[in-house]
C-alpha cells in the first residue's frame, strides 16, 4: 500500500448468485481527501461500502482500508474506521452524554479519555444545555452533527458517511459540511455518499457508479469539463441515463 493512500481497491467484486452487484471496481483514496461515492439507487454503492468497512466479504479482487486487508483483517478495519449513516446513528433513548460514553467504550477509549472527549465535544457542538437530554428529543440536524463527532471519537484515519445529510435543513447541511472540511483539513479522510449533487461538488474527487461499475472518477471540475456541462447534476444524469 502506498504510504499516502487510505483506501486501495483493485478489481473489487461482489456477486450474489448470478447477479454482480459490484463489478471489478478499482480506485484509491488519499489521506485527508474528501471522496464522494455517487451512484443511482441500486448501482452497488452500499454493497461496495459494506466490503470496505469489513462487514461483507468480497467475491474477488483486493482491497486495503486504513492499512488492513478486507479479507484477513476485517476486525481491524472496523476498529480503525469511523462510520455513520442516516439510518443508524445514535441511540435515541440514551442521553447525549450516555451516547458519547457508550461509543467511546465500544471503541476502547479509557474512562479519562472519554471524559475529556465528552467535555470537548459538548462544548464544540454547543450542546451544554442539553447534554443530559435524550438524543431522541433532538432535531435531526443536531443528531447528525453529534453522530458525526461520535464517529470520530477514536480519531480514525478514515470515516465513512452514508448519506449523512438526507432530509436535513439547508443551513445545518452546510454546517455539517464545514465540520467535514475541518476534519479533512486535520488529515482525516472522508468517504461520503450523497444524493445532493451540490454536495458532490464539495468533494475533492468523486466516483460515479453505474450498474456495479465505476464509470467516472475525477475532480468535479474535470468531470464537468469532460461531459461539457456546468454542474454535477448534469454529469450524473448523462452518465446514469447512458
Amino acid at each position: 500500500m502506498k504510504e499516502n493512500n487510505v483506501i486501495e481497491a483493485e478489481e473489487l467484486t461482489k456477486e450474489f448468485g448470478a447477479f454482480t452487484a459490484v463489478n471489478a471496481i478499482s480506485f484509491e483514496v488519499k489521506k485527508g481527501e474528501i471522496f464522494g461515492f455517487l451512484g443511482a439507487n441500486g448501482a452497488g454503492k452500499t454493497t461496495a461500502m459494506k466490503m470496505l468497512i469489513g462487514i461483507s466479504k468480497p467475491s474477488s479482487g483486493k482491497a486495503k482500508v486504513a492499512g488492513f486487508d478486507v479479507y484477513a483483517q476485517a476486525e481491524s478495519i472496523k476498529k480503525n474506521i469511523g462510520y455513520m449513516s442516516q439510518k443508524f446513528a445514535l441511540y435515541d433513548d440514551l442521553t447525549v452524554k450516555e451516547n458519547i460514553t457508550f461509543f467511546g467504550g465500544i471503541y476502547g477509549l479509557s474512562r479519562a479519555r472519554i471524559k475529556e472527549k465528552t467535555k470537548h465535544l459538548i462544548m464544540e457542538l454547543g450542546l451544554d444545555g442539553i447534554a443530559d437530554q435524550l438524543v431522541g428529543s433532538l432535531p435531526l440536524g443536531w443528531k447528525q452533527k453529534l453522530s458525526f463527532s461520535v464517529s470520530l471519537l477514536h480519531e480514525p484515519k478514515i470515516v465513512f458517511l452514508d448519506e449523512p445529510t438526507g432530509g436535513v435543513d439547508p443551513i445545518t447541511r452546510r454546517q455539517f459540511w464545514e465540520m467535514i472540511y475541518k476534519s479533512a483539513n486535520q488529515g482525516t479522510t472522508i468517504f461520503v455518499t450523497t444524493h445532493y449533487m451540490d454536495e458532490a461538488e464539495y468533494c475533492d474527487r468523486v466516483s460515479i457508479m453505474v450498474d456495479g461499475r465505476i464509470e467516472a472518477l475525477d475532480t468535479p471540475k474535470k468531470l464537468k469539463a469532460q461531459f461539457n456541462v456546468d454542474n454535477m447534476n448534469d454529469v450524473f444524469l448523462k452518465l446514469a441515463r447512458g
Partner: protein, 301 residues
C-alpha cells in the same frame, strides 16, 4: 375546490408541530411544501387526509371539510405517505388490485391514469412488493394512490433518498398527472425540486416562511450575491466568516455564495483581504440567488 387551510395548529405533548398555518392550493395546481425534516409537513398531510385532528383551525379538501366530511375526502384523495406503506407480502398486481377493490373500482376502469407509471413495473407484477427496488416501490405506491382517480393527490416526500435520475423521472410523471386535472400537494426537502412547482410554501418549525411562485421567492433575497472560489474551501469559508463586512457565506457546489453588508460593495477590497489571508487562485463573480439562498435567509430570522 383544491385545498384550503385556515389557521391550523397541532401540538404533540410539548412540541408545537404546526403553528397556525394558512394557505390555499388552487384546483389543478402543483403546490410544493418545501422544508426540512421536523418542519411539520407530515403532520399537515395527516390532518388533510383525515388521519389526524388538528387542535385549532379549519381545512377543506376538494370542497369537503376535513372533520365533517371525512368519508367524502377519503373517497376523493390519493395519499402516498413518506414511509412505504403497501403490503410487502402481496405482489405488485395484488397490491394494486387490493386498493382498486377497496375503492370500489377496477384496474381496468382507471388504467389510463396509471398506464405511464404502471407500465414500467408491469414486467415485475408477480414480484412481492417487499422485494422491489426503491424506485419501483415508489412507482407502485403512486399507482396505488391513483387507482381510484382522486381529485387531489398528497405526496409526502416521494423522492427522499431517491437518486437524481429517478427524481427527475418522478417529477416528469407529476407534470403529466397535473395535465389530467389532478390537484397535487407534494412535500420535499430538495430545494431544486421546488422550481418545478407552480407555487411553493417554505415551511420550517411548524410555520410558513413564505408562499409564492418559485420565481418570485428568489427575488425576495435582499442582497447582491457573489460566487467565490479558491484553492482551499475550508480556509476560504473561515476567512470570509472573519471578514468584517460579511453578511452571509454558504458553500454552494464548487463555490461559496457570499453577500456583503455594505450597499456599495467593492470586489477589489475583498480580493485584497483574501490575498492577505493567503488564499490562492480565487475568483469573485456576481451570481443569482436560488430558492435555497432565500430559504436560508428567511429561516435565519
Amino acid at each position: 375546490m383544491g385545498i384550503r387551510v385556515t389557521d391550523i395548529s397541532k401540538s404533540y405533548k410539548n412540541v408545537k408541530a404546526l403553528k397556525g398555518i394558512t394557505f390555499d392550493v388552487k384546483e389543478g395546481e402543483l403546490f410544493g411544501l418545501i422544508g426540512p425534516d421536523g418542519a411539520g409537513k407530515t403532520t399537515l398531510f395527516r390532518i388533510l387526509t383525515t388521519l389526524l385532528f388538528s387542535d385549532e383551525g379549519e381545512a377543506t379538501v376538494a370542497g369537503y371539510d376535513v372533520v365533517l366530511d371525512y368519508k367524502d375526502i377519503r373517497q376523493s384523495v390519493g395519499y402516498m405517505p413518506g414511509k412505504f406503506s403497501l403490503y410487502q407480502d402481496l405482489t405488485v398486481e395484488e397490491n394494486l388490485n387490493f386498493f382498486a377493490t377497496i375503492f370500489g373500482t377496477t384496474i381496468e376502469e382507471n388504467y389510463d391514469l396509471i398506464k405511464d407509471i404502471y407500465i414500467q413495473i408491469e414486467p415485475f407484477k408477480k414480484r412481492r412488493a417487499g422485494q422491489l427496488s426503491g424506485g419501483m416501490k415508489q412507482k407502485l405506491a403512486l399507482s396505488c394512490a391513483l387507482i381510484h382517480k382522486p381529485k387531489v393527490l398528497f405526496l409526502d416526500e416521494p423522492t427522499t433518498g431517491v437518486d437524481p435520475v429517478s427524481r427527475k423521472e418522478f417529477w416528469e410523471m407529476l407534470k403529466r398527472l397535473q395535465k389530467k386535472g389532478i390537484t397535487i400537494l407534494v412535500s420535499t426537502p430538495y430545494m431544486d425540486e421546488a422550481a418545478l412547482c407552480d407555487r411553493i410554501a417554505l415551511i420550517q418549525d411548524g410555520g410558513i416562511l413564505e408562499i409564492d411562485t418559485p420565481e418570485s421567492i428568489v427575488h425576495k433575497f435582499p442582497k447582491a450575491l457573489y460566487n467565490i472560489g479558491a484553492n482551499n474551501m475550508y480556509q476560504l469559508i473561515r476567512s470570509l466568516n472573519n471578514y468584517e463586512h460579511l453578511y452571509s457565506v454558504y458553500p454552494f457546489g464548487e463555490f461559496v455564495h457570499y453577500a456583503d453588508k455594505r450597499p456599495a460593495f467593492n470586489i477589489a477590497d475583498l480580493a485584497q483581504y483574501l490575498d492577505a489571508q493567503g488564499l490562492k487562485s480565487f475568483s469573485i463573480e456576481p451570481t443569482k440567488p436560488t430558492i435555497e439562498d432565500t430559504f436560508m435567509e428567511l429561516a435565519k430570522k
